[in-house]
């Protein structure tokens, strides 16, 4: 059963020059116990999507679509008090920089307790015991003592564990993790991603994992959506995506990354020429066409629709013939 169903979500900004679309026609569903990765470079709309799912977008951002269904209830039609009660209890989020999301003048234990009492009520003593138990669950060593620490006294890794404890306090159905390890060192990153994976398996939580790092996706996601300039260009299982990416942008991202694309030492990496277009300067047709080696007149005039292909969905006019156009990149995934 899918816990989260997003249907044709679009997000735009109202500006004096008119509407600027930042996310276009996004549809996906997320099942219990599944990790879906949303991958893209800065400005592609991935973090905006996260805020929309939590009902946290504020003007001038405008959200439209055929629904965001969380356990069957359409968030687009709910009032703010109802949304607030769902946030934290049924859908929760962890952010890249826990320091900015934590209250600096409250101890971390009190902040976890606050989430519990707000959503579940109950006495302080019970809430305190739950908070300590949650801190232990996210493997914070010496939880009883750390309960009384202020956020700035903790390391980045421990702060992120506190955020996870808060997010999990009310056993949400859906957890959104927006770049949860980007600010952390590599050994700590591994610990946090393993923790999220373990908690997901134990509780059947559905995880939307937002990241710019395609490298993290292979080990930590079941399915992947690659986003470019506000649209999902490819959605596949993680295994399929790495074995044979079919959208030119995905292929470029993989081949550009040392260690993923199979380039040997100082062998020329594949470059994606140019930069991501700005919101006000979206190309007509496929947004990737100005940077794409295969773009033709069709690409420059018509936005490709998402079609079912290779067990996933791809939005490219030429993805079906991609191997004839670019045989050299087949070594991807074989290395």
């Amino acid at each position: 059963m899918s816990l989260l169903d997003v249907k044709n979500l679009s997000i735009s900004f109202a500006t004096p020059r008119g509407r600027l679309a930042a996310v276009r026609d996004l549809s996906f569903s997320l099942k219990a116990g599944e990790t879906l990765a949303l991958v893209g470079e800065s400005g592609c709309g991935k973090s905006l999507t996260a805020l929309a799912l939590l009902g946290l977008l504020e003007p001038p951002a405008v959200m439209e679509g055929n629904g965001i269904f969380l356990e069957g209830r359409n968030l687009l039609t709910l009032d703010e008090p109802t949304l607030r009660s769902l946030r934290g209890s049924r859908i929760a989020m962890i952010f890249q920089e826990p320091m900015t999301a934590l209250n600096p003048v409250l101890t971390v234990g009190e902040q976890i307790m606050e989430v519990i009492t707000e959503h579940e009520g109950g006495g302080r003593r019970a809430a305190r015991a739950r908070a300590v138990a949650l801190m232990e669950k996210v493997r914070i060593p010496d939880a009883e003592r750390r309960f009384a620490e202020y956020p700035h006294r903790l390391s980045g890794g421990l702060r992120q564990r506190v955020m996870i404890a808060m997010a999990l306090a009310c056993s949400p159905a859906v957890l959104i993790a927006d770049e949860p390890t980007t600010a952390l060192d590599v050994t700590i990153q591994a610990q946090i991603l393993d923790l999220i994976g373990t908690l997901k398996r134990e509780n059947g939580t559905a995880v939307l994992f937002i990241t710019h790092d395609l490298g993290l996706v292979g080990q930590h996601a079941d399915r992947v959506m690659v986003m470019y300039a506000g649209r999902v260009v490819e959605e596949r299982t993680a295994a399929d995506l790495f074995a044979d990416p079919l959208h030119p942008y995905t292929r470029g991202l993989i081949a550009a990354r040392p260690g993923l694309g199979g380039s040997g030492r100082r062998e020329r990496l594949m470059e994606i020429p140019g930069t991501v277009p700005g919101l006000g300067a979206m190309p007509v047709g496929c947004a990737f066409s100005p940077r794409c080696a295969f773009a033709d007149d069709l690409c420059r005039s018509t936005v490709p629709t998402s079609i079912d292909q290779a067990g996933g969905r791809i939005a490219c006019h030429h993805s079906e013939g991609i191997h004839d156009r670019e045989p050299a990149i087949r070594r991807i995934g074989n290395s």
């Binding site: 421990l158 060192d185 590599v186 710019h212 550009a256 990354r257 030492r265 100082r266």
Partner: protein, 328 residues
Amino acid sequence: MTANPPSAELATPDPLLSVRDLSVRFDTAEGPVHAVDGVSFDLKAGEILGLVGESGCGKSTLARAILRLVEPRAGSISLAGSDITHLSRRQLRGVRRQVQMVFQDPYSSLAPRWTVAELLTEPLVIHGVGDRAERRRHVGDLLDKVGLPADAAQRYPHEFSGGQRQRLGIARALALDPRLVVLDEPVSALDVSVQAQILNLLVELQRQSDIAFLFISHDLSVVEYLSDRVAVMYLGQIVEIADRDSLWRHPSHPYTRALLQAIPGNPPPSADDALKIEGDLPSPIAPPPGCRFHTRCPYAEQRCRIDNPALRTVAPGHQAACHLMRLS
């Protein structure tokens, strides 16, 4: 505390850069921080040495100490055979021609009100290189070298994208034709697609000349791609240094093994080899006694808690500092 002794093996003929027992200490309100503590290594002309480690390990401080942007407390730095550790600011000028630095955030290291031409000629003016016409030609050459159009010269840093700004940072570092460029996380702030452009540029530059790079990064995939040799730092000390292939195939220090396994898509060869290190980096203000890694090391035994191991040779060109490694 045991310093890492320079071994006979480090003394290859005429290294471009030779660092011996280098220590940097900062005095903070909470006490002295030994940011760099007894570091020794050599860098040959034309070589790329990757320097990896997690935040707070001292890698950026080490880089700044090599450029004398922070003052070392002990030890020595030699460039092409001459000791630069105690040169005065004035005497350092000559050295600055030979050693340049590229920073993570090119924007904050480029003066916003200067045109690109001004930014690129400033080092030439300071060092009295060429006349106006020659400098102008040189700007054109530099822009071409880093893959920017000639008309970039009259524009300002804010008019460029992040990747182009990093090209500018590199062009400025190359202006005086240095023999060594220290790059501190030069691609960390860039998107993947742009990162590849900068990495390709660095490879090209290194191929065209015998310029040496000290390449500092937390990203091991990038370091593996670029480096001839790699040094791993932990809490102010080098715990392992080796040729890239030797380090990747036979990592000897448990910390190096954990780092390599933490690379996404780089699982351990077997479940027995899986090495998950627990806990956080200890505070550099109060580093653990003995081996600094022992608080997180699954293999630590009594002597690790008492004696800080020195670097020992495990294979030709490969040294590591661990009491428990098997010497082959």
